[in-house]
């Protein structure tokens, strides 16, 4: 903050509409040299739209952009990169068929000619080493083979690589959404180092703790406008939530009632099988949490259970229909060419039949019912699913699972990149549904969410290594179990 008056990027009166929806309603926004701005707001508040305009991938309907004090008339992504503005987008921007090094090469025009491939490999390795020590990613790895958390690490590391182009501002849109706590910590530390080294950062996150401890200044957006802009040290979590509007800070939840040993076991993984020496049991009406570092076998267990429901699987019994809520919604969740209604009803088609055909009125009823119950923000369910913001797409996926006849709902880190308001809505829904007898198995990377669970199983290296009851649940214990071998 040596020269707080020098703004390296300045947006004035930026407006942008998508059809009837006004995404940005006259936003003034400035980034100064050597500062980290935390940008928060509900999904749909306009954060991503604003950042895409700043990064040059989107264009405003009106308003001006100035970089280093010079107004930009023809602001494109090429120009943004040439002037040192880069963005790590929320949906990752890596080509899965290329290696880590090749993806780096693609983003730097300077890495051409003989030896370009090797320089790209050295560059990304150095950047990964600097940000995520012990990352375990090789530059030759094909991106498609990497877990989603590792891809996010590559994408972040790539944004911090340096060639001929200058680097003044890095925009990080939900960079920690797929990272486990330790890796997220490494990234946040690196952001502070980068800022100390003269680079400015904009950090978008729904994890308010991250924002408060990492940022110098916090900008809050609501309904396409900036509603607060204050130094981070003057802010608290509660004030931030209040500024974002609407959402209440969730109180320590109590475990769902009425679940006892008397309820029948609906899903069971026997001890001593592929998932380790500790077995897993889920009773009717229970909410079961799966915890541990990201990518340590939680997703595999969910998929195994899903398959066990339809075909015999050794060491597993599942009693009842299951539905899966995918976490990686772009890959595993939505049908991108279909309407919102069709995306919701696909799991329930058997119940929507009239003779051999789908009854259009029943399908529409189902979609409307769930739009109301889960609060999907759209005026027309026949719109394409991609017209929804990320959080609302995820709501549609919840609706798909909850509208079905499934009694067991498997959730694969479904709250990735979802705003707090949506989360609280869904938590309530899960609790009500559990009371009505549904069983939830919930893998999450956010420790706060485990508070909603009756029992938590901690994973390490593909095995269950600990079981924690709701009452004994603390973040410390989870972390302890996740890293047990290091501590021992």
């Amino acid at each position: 903050m040596s020269d707080p008056l020098r703004s390296i990027a300045k947006l004035d009166g930026v407006k942008r509409s998508f059809g009837a929806v006004r995404a940005l309603d006259g936003v003034d926004f400035a980034v100064h040299a050597k500062e980290c701005i935390g940008l928060v707001g509900h999904n749909g508040a306009g954060k991503s739209t604003l950042m895409s305009i700043l990064a040059g991938t989107g264009s405003p309907d009106s308003g001006t952009i100035a970089i280093n004090g010079a107004a930009q008339s023809d602001w494109t992504i090429q120009r943004a990169r040439a002037l040192g503005v880069r963005c790590v987008f929320q949906e990752l921007s890596l080509s899965p068929n290329l290696s880590v090094a090749e993806n780096t090469r693609v983003s730097h025009g300077a890495l051409n000619g003989w030896g370009g491939a090797k320089r790209a490999a050295d560059l990304i390795r150095a950047s990964l080493d600097a940000i995520f020590p012990g990352h375990g990613i090789s530059p030759q790895d094909i991106v498609g083979d990497l877990a989603i958390g590792q891809r996010q690490m590559v994408e972040v590391a790539r944004a911090f690589t340096l060639t001929d182009d200058p680097l003044h501002l890095v925009i990080l849109d939900e960079p920690t959404s797929s990272l486990d706590a330790q890796t997220a910590r490494q990234l946040l530390d690196h952001i502070r180092r980068a800022v100390a080294g003269g680079i400015s950062c904009i950090l978008i996150s729904h994890i308010l703790g991250e924002i408060l401890e990492t940022s110098d200044r916090v900008v809050v957006m609501r309904d396409g406008k900036v509603v607060a802009d204050e130094p981070a040290r003057d802010l608290t979590r509660a004030r931030l939530v209040a500024a974002m509007g609407g959402a209440r800070l969730h109180a320590k939840t109590t475990r769902s009632d009425g679940v006892g040993a008397s309820q029948p076991v609906v899903a069971q993984v026997q001890a001593g099988g592929a998932h380790g020496a500790i077995g897993l049991q889920a009773r009717r009406g229970e909410v079961i949490g799966l915890a541990g570092l990201a990518g340590h076998g939680q997703t595999k267990l969910l998929i195994d259970l899903f398959e066990a429901a339809n075909a015999r699987r050794k060491g597993m019994t599942v009693d009842g229909a299951v539905a899966l809520v995918a976490g990686d919604r772009q890959t595993d969740g939505i049908f991108p060419l279909w309407s919102i209604a069709m995306n919701i009803s696909i799991r329930s088609l058997a119940a929507l039949r009239r003779g051999a055909f789908i009854a259009a009125d029943k399908e529409a009823d189902l979609a409307v019912t769930w739009r109301e119950r889960i609060g999907i923000r759209t005026d027309n369910l026949d719109n394409n699913i991609l017209s929804l913001s990320g959080g609302n797409q995820q709501k549609a996926l919840f609706a798909r699972a909850l509208a079905s006849d499934a009694q067991i709902i498997l959730m694969d880190d479904p709250m990735r990149g979802v705003d707090l308001g949506t989360k609280l809505d869904v938590y309530d829904l899960i609790r009500t549904q559990a009371q009505q007898g549904r069983t939830f198995l919930w893998y999450t990377t956010e420790t706060d969410e485990l508070d909603n669970c009756d029992r938590v199983y901690v994973f390490r290296n593909g095995q269950i290594v600990a079981v924690l009851d709701h009452d004994d649940l603390t973040e410390e214990k989870i972390i302890q179990s996740s890293f047990a071998e290091v501590g021992a």
Partner: protein, 322 residues
């Protein structure tokens, strides 16, 4: 962290093994076909035998490479066969009689391909439909130029395709040159990486500041260019033209790309594999079947069975790897 390191290394090793096996599969299937030929007719495995058996493999390999370029960016060219036929007719008539006109027409046809790429990108059209339509256009033009089989190949072209190289048969030399040139261009060069990336995740390439329109235009122009070379090579070998000469190439070229380890979507292709795939198809097409004493009536069907078995083997290996 320390405890997870060995498993990460193990899974990487397993992945690399599966990938290596998949990369080797085209070469393995060709070796298998060669072994079968050697067993049926040992004399075929000779300089002269290979020159004869692989005689028609070069145009197929070139057409396969042409097809591979569009497949890299998730498109398909259903017109490559009739395009090769059209180029053949131009080569056997205008290029022989009026070389300047011939060259101009061939260059213009590459321009048409580039234009198709732009059209497909800008109007967001399915390439299958556009190129299916174009296949009738090329066929019609070919028939207009050369209503009945005939014409003559330019002498320099005949000379080039009839080149005798010491020790290694010419088709093998040509195949190696084609494979290496395209491999370095597409797999190693910086822009080649961008082109493949555009097949894997177009949005990512756009966000890195590259023009997606340009990638489509370049890839379609490359397809046109290799289609032209393929048609010329074919006429250099057959020495005269026929409007239907290339019709089988559309499906052969697609099969060659897939046989060579390519995939229809996602920018996963292999130029070396594609050339090997084309050679395998050329070998399996008639030499092997003739040696097996399969009557010509059944050869096409037998060819299909061979193709399905090789692709089934590939699918099995891929699944094991995943």
């Amino acid at each position: 962290m320390t405890s997870s390191a060995p498993t990460a290394a193990q899974s990487r090793a397993a992945r690399n093994r599966a990938r290596l096996l998949r990369t080797m599969l085209p070469a393995l299937s060709m070796t298998l076909i060669l072994l079968a030929i050697a067993w049926l007719n040992p004399r075929a495995i000779s300089y002269f035998g290979f020159s004869l058996m692989l005689n028609l493999a070069i145009p197929i390999a070139l057409a396969t490479i042409a097809q591979m370029f569009v497949i890299t960016i998730n498109e398909l060219d259903l017109s490559i066969g009739t395009f090769v036929g059209f180029v053949g007719c131009v080569t056997a008539t205008w290029l022989h009689d009026a070389p300047v006109l011939g060259v101009l027409v061939l260059l213009a046809s590459i321009g048409v391909y580039a234009g198709l790429g732009a059209l497909i990108h800008l109007r967001n059209l399915p390439s299958i439909v556009v190129t299916l339509g174009m296949s009738f256009v090329w066929q019609g033009l070919a028939i207009l130029i050369l209503p009945k089989p005939g014409g003559a190949a330019p002498d320099w072209l005949k000379g080039l395709m009839g080149l005798k190289v010491p020790f290694v048969p010419f088709p093998i030399v040509a195949a190696i040159v084609i494979a290496l040139v395209v491999h370095f261009g597409l797999m190693r060069s910086a822009y080649g990486t961008v082109l493949r990336g555009a097949g894997g995740n177009p949005q990512a390439i756009g966000r890195a500041g590259w023009s997606l329109l340009k990638t489509k235009v370049v890839m379609f122009a490359l397809t046109g260019t290799f289609g032209v070379i393929s048609g010329m090579a074919l006429i250099g070998i057959t020495t005269s033209g026929d409007a239907n000469i290339g019709n089988g190439y559309t499906l052969l070229s697609i099969a060659g790309v897939i046989l060579g380890g390519g995939e229809f979507v996602g920018g996963r292709v292999s130029p070396i594999g594609a050339v090997i795939g084309a050679l395998t198809l050329a070998l399996a097409a008639s030499p092997l079947l003739t040696f097996m004493n399969i009557p010509p009536d059944w050869q096409v069907a037998a060819n299909g069975v061979i193709l399905i078995s090789v692709l089934a083997a590939r699918a099995l290996i891929s699944r094991k790897g995943a």
